[in-house]
Symmetry: C2
Subunit: 218 residues, 2 copies
C-alpha cells in the first residue's frame, strides 16, 4: 500500500501542462493516460479525479494553448496609437515567440486539434449523467472552434484595416491570413530550442517575408 510520499497535491494546471508535453511527443491516440499520469507522478486512475475522460483532457490542453495565444495577441489589436503595420508586426512576433517558447503547446495545437472531432459518444445505454457530460463536451468543443475562428479574425481585422485605409497593398485577406498562420503554426512543427535561431529571430525573419507583400509599391 505504501503511498508515495505525496510530494504535494497535483492540480489541474500542472496536469494540462504535462499533458501538452506528452501529447506533442506521442500524439493523442498513442499517448496513454498512464503516460500522462506518469509525467506528474500519478497513476492513470488518479487522472479521472481531475478530468472526466481523455477527450476532456485533450480539450483542456487545447483550450489552454489557445487562450494563452489569444491573451498575448488580443491586446495588440486594440492599441489605437499603432499603425496596422506596427500592430501586425507585433502580433506575428507574439505568435511565433509564443509557439517557440512552448513548442509542446504549439505542436499540440497543430496536430491534435482534429482528434477532437473524433471524440466518440458514450457507447451503449450509459448513465444519463454520461450523456449529459457528452452534451456538455460537445458544447465546449464548439466554443473552442469558435474561439479559434475568433483568433484568426484578429489577424484578418488588422490586415483588412490596413487594406481599407490604403496603408496595405490590396491582398485577399482570408488567404493572406491563412498563409501567414500556416507559416507561423509550422514553426511549432520544426522549431527546436537548441536550434540555430531564437524564437525572436525567427519571428523577425518571417515578418520580413510577409510584410513586403503588403507594403510594396504598386
Amino acid at each position: 500500500m505504501a503511498r508515495k510520499p505525496a510530494d504535494q497535491s497535483v492540480n489541474r494546471e500542472e496536469i494540462i501542462t504535462a499533458a501538452a508535453d506528452v501529447l506533442s511527443r506521442r500524439g493523442y491516440e498513442t499517448a496513454t493516460m498512464k503516460d500522462i499520469a506518469a509525467a506528474v507522478n500519478l497513476t492513470a486512475a488518479s487522472l479521472y479525479h481531475h478530468f472526466r475522460n481523455k477527450d476532456a483532457l485533450l480539450l483542456a490542453v487545447l483550450e489552454m494553448g489557445l487562450e494563452f495565444t489569444i491573451n498575448r495577441i488580443q491586446p495588440i489589436t486594440c492599441q489605437r496609437g499603432l499603425s496596422a503595420e506596427e500592430r501586425l508586426r507585433a502580433m506575428i512576433r507574439e505568435h511565433i515567440v509564443g509557439v517557440a517558447d512552448n513548442p509542446a503547446v504549439g505542436a499540440a495545437m497543430v496536430f491534435e486539434i482534429h482528434a477532437l472531432s473524433n471524440a466518440k459518444p458514450p457507447t451503449r445505454r450509459a448513465k444519463p449523467e454520461d450523456l449529459q457530460a457528452f452534451e456538455a463536451f460537445l458544447t465546449q468543443r464548439d466554443a473552442f472552434f469558435r474561439r479559434r475562428d475568433a483568433f484568426e479574425h484578429l489577424f484578418r481585422a488588422v490586415v483588412q484595416e490596413g487594406v481599407r485605409s490604403g496603408e496595405f497593398h490590396p491582398v485577399d485577406v482570408p488567404i493572406f491570413v491563412k498563409a501567414l498562420l500556416g507559416a507561423n503554426n509550422w514553426v511549432g512543427v520544426w522549431y527546436r530550442p537548441d536550434g540555430r535561431l531564437s524564437g525572436e529571430a525567427i519571428a523577425t525573419e518571417i515578418t520580413s517575408y510577409f510584410l513586403p507583400a503588403l507594403l510594396m509599391r504598386k
Copy 2:
C-alpha cells in the same frame, strides 16, 4: 458464404488511394483497418494480403504522396532556361495545386507523418521473419524521411541560387523555405474543393505574398 460478386481484384494502388482518404478524415490511430478495407469493398483481413500491417500501409500512403509531389516539382528545378524567380513560381504553383487536387494526401502528409515515428516494434519473441520485416520497415522509413528532406532542399536550392546570383534579396534560406512550405502545407488543412477559390487561384495568391520579399528593392 455468398462471396461478393467480385467486381474486380483490388490492387495496391487503389488501396493506398482509399487509405489516404480514410486517414485524412479519421487520422491514423482512429481509422481502423476495417474502415480502410470497407473503402475498397474488402474485409480487414484481406488487406493483409497486400500490406504486412497497418504501419506499412501508412508508410505506403505517405511515400506515394511524397513521390507524387516530388515528381511534379523536381523537373522544374532543372529547367535551365528559367530564372530562379520563374522556377520558384512554378514550384509553388505545382505544390499548392497538387495539394488542392488531392486534399486527402495533403492532409495525410501534414498530420500523419508523426504517426510513423510511433511505430511499435514486434512485441515478444516474434518470429524472426517479423523482426526482419520490422528492420526493413525502419530502413524504409528512414529513406522516406531523407526523401522528405530532399524535397525541402529542392526549394532551398532554387532560393539559394537566386540569392547567390543577386536575383533575390538575401534571406535566411532555410527559414524562408520553412515559412513557404508551412503556408503551402497548411493549404491541405483548410482547403475545400467547393470553396471560394480554386487551387490555381490560391497558388497565385500565395506566390504573390512570398515573392515580393525576394524581389524588393533595397
